[in-house]
């Protein structure tokens, strides 16, 4: 393969995250070319005006580039981008690399990886932690798994898009890591909401509780960011509650399969189910607070 600094890279999927990530690759000047594709082609225009190339199909992107990155919204979109006619798979040949940075379940990731390697390509699963702002600022946390050689090759690209990347093992490990981290996050939000509810019910000020939590070993960005919204009972969605509940459900299923007790996550999951039943599924996952008020 070409020397790393002269790689040609492609980017499939220019949503909130993908556009920002592709822009960082373009601005870095580290790659001989950046070729983009999006299902709605007009989304490519801004990046093309900034110096990117565009291609009519994912297959064309892959054919034109050493390594192609994918950033699709969900498993369905990730599979479509790969397996549809003119999809990524159609462009894969010996030596090509595909790095799927979408957040998908392990089965989807494994399926994509197997198809890519069957055609002689290399595959890395690379979901991220962080949303729009970290994507723009190149501060994502990248959880990598799959082909170690390809992972090493794309280190410069990862360094441009993120603040840190991890190599976690064979394909599937990164999907599992995301699930574990999101399980802890979901449980923590549940615990936080119970604390806020108990404070309020006991005649304590929630502002005081937030302040105290923010001063000690428990302080974390999520409490600080979501606390004020909980106090106002307003939950504009950054991470929809229905997705958080889905992640908890998947984590619990993993626990079931492996005989791993997860009583706290199970209790938190019930709260998310209650919140969904209250119609809060599309709100931010902080709306699980409403389950404490039921």
């Amino acid at each position: 393969m070409a020397d790393a600094t002269k790689l040609s890279v492609g980017f499939v999927g220019l949503g909130i995250m993908g556009e920002a990530m592709a822009r960082n690759l373009l601005k870095s000047g580290l790659f001989s070319s950046v070729t983009v594709w999006n299902r709605t082609l007009s989304k490519c225009d801004a990046l093309v005006a900034e110096g990117a190339l565009s291609a009519p199909t994912p297959a064309d992107v892959v054919a034109a580039c050493d390594v192609t990155f994918g950033m699709l919204a969900d498993p369905e979109a990730a599979l479509a981008a790969v397996f549809n006619e003119g999809g990524v798979l159609a462009g894969i040949s010996a030596g090509k690399g595909y790095v799927d940075m979408s957040t998908v379940d392990e089965a989807t990731s494994t399926k994509i990886g197997e198809a890519v390697t069957a055609k002689g390509g290399k595959f890395v699963e690379g979901p991220v932690s962080g949303s729009k702002k970290p994507a723009i600022d190149g501060q994502l946390v990248i959880m990598g798994a799959g082909d170690k050689e390809l992972y090493e090759l794309v280190q410069p690209a990862f360094a441009v898009m993120g603040k840190k990347s991890f190599y976690l093992g064979a394909t599937g490990a990164a999907a599992r890591m995301k699930l574990v981290v999101n399980m802890v996050m979901g449980s923590m939000m549940g615990a936080f909401c119970e604390g806020m509810a108990l404070a309020d019910k006991s005649g304590l000020e929630q502002t005081a509780l937030l302040e105290i939590l923010g001063l000690g070993a428990m302080a974390n960005p999520m409490f600080a960011m979501k606390g004020p919204g909980i106090m106002q009972r307003a939950y504009p969605p950054a991470f929809p509650l229905k997705h958080q509940q889905k992640d908890l459900r998947l984590a619990l299923a993993l626990g079931d399969a492996l005989n791993q007790p997860l009583p706290v996550a199970a209790a938190a999951n019930e709260a998310y189910k209650t919140a969904k039943a209250l119609g809060r599924g599309d709100q931010d996952f902080a709306a699980v607070y409403e389950a404490t008020q039921k």
Partner: protein
């Protein structure tokens, strides 16, 4: 930021339970005044300050009747080299806190059930009393740091040589133990009956913060005493809150520790599941440490947990006691707490495994494989 007294609350919004004042009480209001916070910038303060403060929907803990307060003699403001302080309970926390008082220049009289624990402090200049009463009598203001409600009651109220027996007008008793509100009120009554002032002052922070003088005091009770012991509190801590009538500090501490206990249990479940699905626990700790749920507690304790090492900073038995008391508070105010209840069961299981004296992070043992994972590092 100071919050001055709120408007009186209509009777319709009164809660049931121990926090309801008798109908003849004066209008209820509470105050949240945050005094000097010496620590660095709190990034979310601006966001918190920007939240429009909703009118109180229910009264805060009842204030003591005005006449009781008027009985207190004038309280001297504590200052190094001028004020003698007492300290009851020289455990993990007590020894560190006392040391900071001595370093700040106070003369300190200490007492511990097992006098051996006082030896090191005696060599550093503390006087050792033979009983709680003796320490309290020798001091103007006495701090107590006992392990649980039973110990706090016993040390304060035991006949003959308990702390209350040594109190008198002009003195103050600051109970830093973490107890339930009812225990705190019982001690408060006895202290005030002796003519002294009472402050409940449980802390957030364990061994490290205690040693570094970075505790967070969650106080309630007699505000005059809060003001009088401001300097000693600052010698031991980085922040102090006055939250209203006694009960408010105790309850706030329970809420805080309930969140902490559930957070740690959640983290432990994450580490256990990670291990089961072939991920390195240190990778989980590192990924978490870079994201939205990065908390100092995880970074501090995670690596030792990955090695199944649990040197006690905060003993698990005390964490479980706090969860139990928080759940009892939830019962009292009719607040279901399923996540906390699930976490509590894990701490109970860990105690049954004999891990009560280990750090509370040993809750991992309640969810992890019983046999050490081969090659897990």
């Amino acid at each position: 930021m100071a919050l001055l007294s709120r408007a009186p609350v209509p009777a319709l919004t009164r809660r049931s339970g121990p926090y309801t004042a008798p109908p003849s009480a004066p209008p209820q209001f509470g105050r949240h005044i945050r005094h000097a916070v010496a620590y660095g910038p709190a990034p979310f303060s601006a966001a918190v300050a920007a939240v429009p403060r909703a009118p109180a929907s229910r009264p805060l803990s009842a204030r003591p009747a005005r006449s009781a307060l008027a009985c207190h003699a004038e309280l001297v403001v504590a200052a190094p080299s001028k004020t003698v302080l007492g300290f009851l309970g020289i455990g993990i926390m007590g020894v560190a806190m006392t040391r900071n008082l001595i370093k700040a220049g106070y003369q300190v009289v200490v007492w511990n059930r097992n006098p051996d624990k006082c030896k090191a402090l005696a060599e550093e200049g503390a006087q050792v009393a033979a009983s709680p009463r003796e320490a309290v009598a020798a001091a103007t203001y006495t701090f107590a740091m006992l392990s649980d409600p039973e110990a706090a009651l016993h040390v304060a109220l035991r006949a003959g040589d308990g702390a209350v027996a040594g109190l008198a007008p002009g003195k103050g008793y600051v109970d830093v133990s973490t107890v339930d509100a009812a225990t705190s009120r019982t001690i408060a009554s006895a202290v005030r009956a002796a003519g002294a002032a009472f402050l409940e002052a449980p802390v957030s922070g364990s061994k490290g913060p205690a040693e570094q003088g970075k505790l967070i005091f969650l106080t309630a009770g007699d505000e005059a005493l809060f003001t009088a012991v401001s300097a000693p509190l600052d010698a031991m801590g980085k922040a102090k809150f006055f939250l209203g009538a006694e009960g408010a500090g105790a309850n706030m501490k329970l809420v805080v520790n309930m969140v902490m206990g559930a957070m740690m249990a959640s983290f432990a479940e994450g580490l256990a599941l990670a291990d089961k699905v072939g991920l390195r626990q240190q990778d989980v700790i590192d990924v978490i440490g870079l994201g939205a749920i990065a908390a100092p507690m995880f970074a501090l304790k995670g690596p030792a947990m990955a090695k199944r090492a649990y040197a006690p900073a905060f003993p698990l038995k005390h964490q479980q006691k706090d969860m139990r008391l928080a759940l009892a508070l939830g019962d009292e105010v009719a607040q279901p707490l399923p996540t906390a209840a699930a976490a509590n069961a894990l701490y109970v299981a860990a105690r049954r495994q004999g891990l009560g004296d280990s750090d509370f992070s040993a809750v991992l043992e309640a969810v992890a494989e019983q046999q050490a994972a081969a090659g897990q590092q």
